[in-house]
């Protein structure tokens, strides 16, 4: 039997706090690099100007310890818990929530969570959205993603006809992104989940947004689909912020799982250019 590794709950709180502070203030290198490439390849003056401002903002945020965007989002946390890990000294969920609470208070981040009916703010940006997966081993891996509301509002899960085929999926994703237009703060990153059951498609789409930007799917069929969707969005889209230009999307990430013979679930989770995420291991 594998030895059990104890992880103190307060350590998880400290790590989650640090990760949300980092994610909301410092744009990850992969996103910044993609934005630079987009600026260099942008054909219009307006588009270049917008991308220049976005890059300047990333530098100012980092320098002055301000959040990149005022919408510091719902706190989404992916947890991969090794089955040989035992969390001691507190509950895993509580430890994560406390880390979120501390980061949002200390970072002067906006509290953006409310009761859906009364619209009363919870006051500390909790509850977090926590996705837990138990995996082999004794590592505890965390990925945090502050997710803004504007891009989330333009996202959708659709049950396509199984006969729609890969071209049907491609056209559906392109239309969903073009319909969103300037609303989700382009240039966007498009997360696509194909298959599974309805909720799994959504989760695949969200998880795909954690993939380093520009990294292709290891599945050749999906890599081709990603490239086709990206080309089509940038051919027909309105450019940075919709003000004109060719950089409407920075990347398309597709993840896939088998589905029911009667179904073809396709989820499109749109991420804004302020694609904030951070991963760490305890």
């Amino acid at each position: 039997m594998n030895p059990v590794r104890n992880v103190e709950a307060p350590r998880i709180t400290v790590k989650v706090r640090e990760m949300f502070l980092q994610a909301n203030i410092c744009l990850d290198d992969d996103v910044e690099e993609a934005l630079r490439r987009a600026r260099d390849g942008e054909e219009t003056e307006t588009g270049r100007l917008v991308l220049e401002r976005i890059l300047e903002n990333a530098a100012v945020a980092r320098e002055e310890r301000l959040p990149i965007c005022q919408d510091t989002g719902l706190a989404v946390v992916f947890v991969e818990l090794g089955q040989d890990v035992r969390v001691v000294g507190g509950a895993l969920r509580d430890a994560i929530e406390e880390g979120v609470r501390q980061a949002y208070r200390e970072g002067c981040f906006r509290q953006s969570v409310c009761d859906p009916l009364s619209r009363v703010n919870t006051g500390d940006n909790t509850p977090a959205v926590i996705h837990l997966e138990v995996v082999p081993g004794d590592a505890l891996r965390l990925a945090v993603m502050p997710k803004g509301g504007g891009s989330e509002n333009m996202s959708a899960v659709t049950m396509l006809l199984p006969t729609a085929g890969r071209d049907g999926i491609r056209d559906h994703v392109v239309e969903t992104v073009l319909r969103a237009g300037p609303n989700p703060c382009p240039p966007v990153i498009v997360g696509v989940g194909i298959g599974g059951a309805m909720e799994e498609a959504a989760l695949l789409a969200k998880r795909s947004l954690l993939r380093p930007l520009g990294e292709k799917s290891p599945d050749g069929r999906l890599a081709l689909l990603e490239a086709e969707i990206l080309t089509e969005i940038n051919r027909r889209g309105g450019g940075p912020q919709g003000f004109g230009g060719n950089a409407s999307a920075l990347a398309v990430h597709v993840e896939m799982k088998p589905c029911h013979i009667a179904c073809l679930p396709v989820a499109v989770n749109i991420q804004c250019h302020a694609a904030r995420h951070h991963v760490a291991e305890i």
């Binding site: 917008v50 945020a61 310890r65 005022q70 504007g150 609303n183 703060c185 051919r235």
Partner: protein, 187 residues
């Protein structure tokens, strides 16, 4: 992009009439923040015949809910939220004197028609550049609905906030133009 203008609020009919889709504007002066719930309350109070919490004549509303101000700063991170969510409320506010809206994203045909009718304009600000945008705010104070926290109505004094005219009083739409030009450039 036709030309860059400097404008100071409150806006007049003449200010609005002179603006065209695609104009770059550096906007200064007083604006008021309001988002979803604040708009819903504003409408209710106007329907009840009460006076609005700020003078709507010539006013500009910034669809925004800033992050808290760090110590020693006027305001925290701030930027536009997506405007369509305020579409159901915008025509009534324009009818009562609102002249400008700052936000991001598309407006409904009803709102664009109301802009033509009431000589009001819609400005797009760049979303997701909140650290930079906070530098354009010189003063900030709560004027109403403090209980809404980040959604309260704030009075802001802006200094040269860069915005672009998305919808003018002639029914023009920058987003439509941008996509048409994009497709046209291929031919």
């Amino acid at each position: 992009m036709t030309e860059t203008r400097r404008l100071v609020t409150p806006l007049t009919d003449a200010d609005c009439a002179a603006l065209e889709v695609g104009d770059m504007v550096l906007l200064s002066g007083v604006v008021f923040t309001a988002r979803d719930t604040a708009h819903s309350r504003l409408r209710e109070s106007l329907i009840r015949g009460e006076a609005p919490p700020f003078d709507l004549n010539g006013a500009v509303i910034f669809y925004a809910g800033p992050a808290p101000a760090p110590p020693g700063r006027v305001i925290g991170a701030i930027g536009p939220t997506t405007s369509y969510r305020m579409d159901p409320f915008a025509p009534l506010l324009m009818e009562r004197g609102l002249k400008g809206m700052i936000g991001k994203g598309k407006r409904s045909p009803e709102v664009i028609a109301a802009m033509a009718r009431h000589r009001a304009v819609y400005f797009g600000a760049i979303g997701g550049v909140a650290a930079l945008t906070s530098r354009c705010v010189r003063k900030a104070a709560v004027v109403a609905y403090e209980d809404l926290g980040p959604e309260a109505i704030l009075r802001l004094e802006l200094a040269e906030l860069p915005v672009v005219v998305v919808n003018d009083i002639r029914g023009g739409d920058l987003y439509d133009l941008a996509r048409k030009e994009r497709l046209h450039s291929e031919r």
